[in-house]
């Protein structure tokens, strides 16, 4: 049990995908314009991470080493498609605002990296917890960025307006704001010693 908690918590702290490993940047920056979008993206990626880790770990003794990467891609792409169709059916608004970044979860480096580095070498239960921890870490990272950008860029938190229209900086929800926020947050997490350099 203790080791499972360790697998879970490392994705949130030391090996945080967003600020520590600096993986999966494209969706992190592109969909962090509002908290709602960010959490939606995080949950979708977590779903794919947990299930692809589960299946890859279960099949780790059957997949030949030489064709392991294409096999992982097919498994991951399957869950991404499930996720894409599910979001399109039940949350059409979210599907519209995330756009092509839902199918692009396939090429999110976090998922491939965990499949290769963890799920292909460990038993099923630790792999699920690893996927869950990484997913939660990713969601947390993207939500922090979205919180800052949404507050400064459109003056609201999760859609609830807080600031008057002359008090916020529009550029924060545009592309430059994302890059700036990300750079400053990584520097901050290094300065505070939260993640390894």
């Amino acid at each position: 049990m203790k080791s499972l908690i360790k697998e879970f918590s490392k994705g949130i702290t030391v090996l945080n995908p967003t600020f520590g490993l600096i993986l999966g940047l494209c969706p992190t920056l592109a969909v962090s314009t509002s908290l709602f979008n960010a959490v939606g993206m995080g949950v979708a990626a977590t779903f794919v991470l947990v299930f692809s880790n589960l299946i890859i770990s279960a099949l780790r003794n059957f997949i030949p080493a030489r064709i392991r990467l294409p096999s992982y891609i097919v498994i991951i792409a399957t869950f991404v498609t499930v996720c894409e169709l599910g979001i399109k059916a039940y949350l059409p608004g979210l599907s519209k605002s995330l756009g092509i970044f839902i199918p692009l979860i396939v090429v999110n480096c976090i998922i491939m990296a965990r499949a290769e580095a963890f799920a292909s070498r460990n038993r099923i239960l630790p792999s699920i917890f690893d996927g869950l921890g990484m997913g939660v870490g990713f969601t947390l990272g993207i939500a922090i960025i979205a919180f800052i950008r949404e507050l400064l860029g459109s003056g609201s938190i999760a859609g609830i307006g807080l600031l008057k229209s002359n008090e916020f900086i529009l550029v924060m929800i545009l592309a430059p704001g994302a890059l700036l926020t990300m750079g400053l947050l990584i520097a901050l997490s290094r300065l505070m010693g939260l993640t390894k350099r």
Binding site: L29, T81, A175, P176, L179, L180, G183, I186
Partner: protein, 202 residues
């Protein structure tokens, strides 16, 4: 098939909707290989090449396999497999035919498979040019053109960034800002500059 549409695709992909600086596609290689100009140039050329050919292959497969068989919902799986297989093939051909080129591009080729810009342009092409009712052959042509100019835009941003980063190494940056964080700040300023193009319309 109009010239004005081609020009507007070109300007949009290179400047207005630059893949890296305004759409955030392909950020990992943008930060990973922008330390040296030479490496950045090789990566840029490899990306243009792979993007154009995978756009051709994916649009052909979409128009002549997925749509007739009514399995459009499988496009993500198909596209990523096509791209992965194509990149593998290119790597094998280059290694056999031109060892010099392999040495220059070799390590970047496998990285391209997980470059979201390549899959991104394939999906964008389908969303934009393959709406029901649009002529298929024009769609394929526009897809290739869009992929080519998206690749050029990627290459331009990568080269600009590598030029800046080569000089950044000699500056006195605070320890926690060194490397990736300061690269993000530079990218933010570049992206701000590219926003100047956004009023541009044909």
């Amino acid at each position: 098939m109009e010239i004005s549409r081609i020009i507007s695709i070109a300007i949009s992909m290179v400047f207005i909707n630059n893949f890296i600086l305004s759409k955030f596609l392909g950020l990992c290689p943008f930060l990973g290989v922008s330390r040296r100009t030479q490496a950045a140039f090789s990566m840029g050329i490899a990306v243009i090449f792979v993007m154009v050919f995978s756009a051709l292959l994916t649009s052909l497969i979409y128009a002549f396999v997925l749509v007739p068989l009514n399995i459009v919902y499988l496009r993500t799986i198909f596209f990523i497999l096509i791209i992965a297989a194509f990149v593998q093939l290119i790597e094998m051909v280059i290694r056999k035919k031109s060892p010099a080129l392999y040495k220059a591009l070799g390590i970047y080729l496998p990285l391209i498979t997980t470059n979201c810009a390549v899959l991104g342009v394939a999906i964008l092409n389908i969303n934009e040019f393959f709406v029901p009712g649009a002529p298929v052959y024009a769609g394929i042509l526009y897809s290739i053109i869009q992929a080519f100019f998206a690749g050029i835009g990627f290459c331009v941003a990568l080269l600009l960034m590598s030029g800046i980063r080569e000089r950044l190494e000699f500056t006195d940056t605070p320890i926690s800002m060194k490397g990736i964080p300061v690269a993000f700040i530079v990218a933010a300023i570049m992206s701000l500059a590219f926003m100047g193009f956004s009023g541009f319309k044909l």
